[in-house]
Subunit: 343 residues, 2 copies
């Protein structure tokens, strides 16, 4: 829905939302009048507020209370009125420090980023790690742990490491293992995880490949290793900080929120939508297709490696979030992460 608002309506909506974000309480006409630059009387402001209510941008909790923005109103605010605050030097430094990959692989970097997002925003931080379409196969190796045990190790191009124990039905010599690893590496290098899995499927289905018992093993083992890679995982941190937010003070509300977040499947859909867009996106309430979570909002941005979107990061908090603060944080973090990951 597109709204055509007069400049006065916009101004008042802006002031009202700003006040609501700070106070979490319904805002009355007098409050607005006090800080209105044009010195309008409360009565005039009431008229405007009444119009905005009719349009569905504001609502009253009860007949004689102040107004609070509806989800629609918040969205209009976020899309049209929001003024970004500049980040301080300190904040930039903190973000850069935490995202700086100290060469310990992408998952460690992303984990630290999640924590940093939570700390800087004071809400919950989240990061969606690259999905199987994005993870690039680099190398697979097999280490003998005993006569009948293997450790399979997968390394992605960004340093994601995954290992899996494999129980053998028959012994394998060192040279056989070497041959297996070589074969896998030769035929899978450069593929995405999805493509690699598919290729393995095909080779296993292909009867002719049966001619070499060893190569067949190679496929079976790498299938096991690759099957375990938790690609597209959703990492959270700082959920506890949401307890400080009045909206989630009550045990039951907080619990429902956390449980909804745990249900990662659905959240992933939202994040997928986010990764198609460019730059920061704001999802508010029902927008996010998270039923019963209309008090919740998410600020997310895709992050890239070498020009391709590979994941999403962001912040989850109350719909009444301090967007002017959070948006630049998320935006900047996504950029920094991208730079850190670029090869």
């Amino acid at each position: 829905m597109v709204f055509q608002l007069t400049s006065r309506q916009r101004e008042i909506l802006d002031l009202l939302v700003a006040d609501y974000i700070a106070s979490a309480a319904p805002v009355g006409s007098r409050t607005i009048a006090k800080c209105y630059p044009g010195r309008l009387s409360p009565a005039s402001i009431r008229n405007v507020m009444s119009d905005l209510t009719d349009m569905g941008l504001l609502a009253q909790p009860h007949i004689s209370a102040g107004r609070i923005p509806t989800t629609e109103g918040m969205r209009y605010y976020a899309e049209t009125l929001l003024k970004r605050r500049e980040l301080t030097e300190d904040e930039c430094t903190i973000i850069r420090q935490h995202c700086d990959g100290d060469e310990q692989g992408i998952s460690a970097v992303l984990q630290r980023t999640t924590r940093m997002l939570a700390a800087v925003s004071h809400y919950a931080g989240l990061v969606l790690t690259p999905g199987p379409q994005r993870v690039l196969f680099k190398q697979i190796e097999f280490i003998r742990l005993g006569s009948r045990r293997l450790l399979g190790i997968f390394v992605s191009q960004d340093g994601l490491v995954q290992n899996r124990l494999i129980e053998l039905t028959e012994e394998m010599t060192f040279t056989e293992l070497e041959r297996i690893a070589n074969y896998c590496n030769r035929s899978l290098t450069g593929l995405t995880l999805d493509e690699a899995r598919e290729k393995i499927e095909r080779e296993l289905a292909d009867e002719r490949a049966d001619y070499d018992r060893i190569l067949r093993r190679a496929m079976v083992y790498s299938q096991q290793v690759l099957g375990d890679v938790p690609a597209g995982d959703l990492v959270f941190d700082g959920e506890l900080q949401l307890l400080d937010v009045p909206e989630f003070h009550e045990a039951e509300t907080f619990r429902r929120l956390i449980e909804a977040l745990e249900e990662k499947r659905r959240l992933s859909d939202v994040l997928a939508r986010c990764s198609e867009a460019e730059g920061v996106q704001i999802f508010i309430g029902a927008d996010a297709e998270l039923e019963q979570l209309d008090a919740v909002a998410m600020v997310g941005a895709p992050y890239m490696r070498d020009g391709n979107v590979i994941g999403v990061l962001g912040v989850i908090g109350p719909a009444r979030m301090d967007y002017s603060h959070v948006v630049p944080i998320v935006d900047f973090t996504a950029k920094v992460i991208g730079d850190a990951l670029d090869s």
Copy 2:
């Protein structure tokens, strides 16, 4: 402190605590009288309760309310009066299923165990993984990721796998790497992690070892890999279930609890005490040296491998916990885990 109670006093304390555990509310004399086998009048029971109050085993929230057990009273109950419930067949099966190592290494098993403990007890489950004195070195390997990058992989005897990326200052050939790995494995096998680290320290300090540049590298690299092993880590699960407990309903209380749990250092001390004892231990309130956590209790038991205690597992919940249920769960789980880990 040792209390000498008459059998009547014991009986009444038992009934009172049992009722309090079920109701979470102060218990009056009439309530006790109703289910008292010897058919005493409320007045007589009041006398006994008054005595128990003087002894510090019971307390009154206010002058004319029922009694609730003090921490001291709970401890007496746990140590002297507690009758274990037998586990049902179902519960045994569930526990066995979840502890059954499907050969994916000790950390996966312990993680699943934590979750299971939380699910079965309806409180928070916790597991302290083996510390550096307990983890046995089995193998270390180095994989070339590029001309100047290594992946170091450490495998413990129980299948704990740890990997670390290592940035090289100069190239290494495949054979050099092989020599390094062989040297490490030869000199460290069978040691505990602590011993291995110490030995590496010593060799590095020893100037004579300088005669071989390669062997010196071996020590430096393995030091990096072993340094990363998160030994003695504390794993939690099901904290959210504590929100259902009336004691932790309020945001602030719950928050403090979780924060105290996160402060793992102090908790580890308690767990260390637990691992020195044999069988299930119950820590209630200040007992646990966790200030401001007098409403909290922990039921813990050490678990063993091949006869040696290597870690602790247990349940954290309200002091008013259903011990008769939780104690056998923790006890049985520790035994099952021990069996699963025995080689």
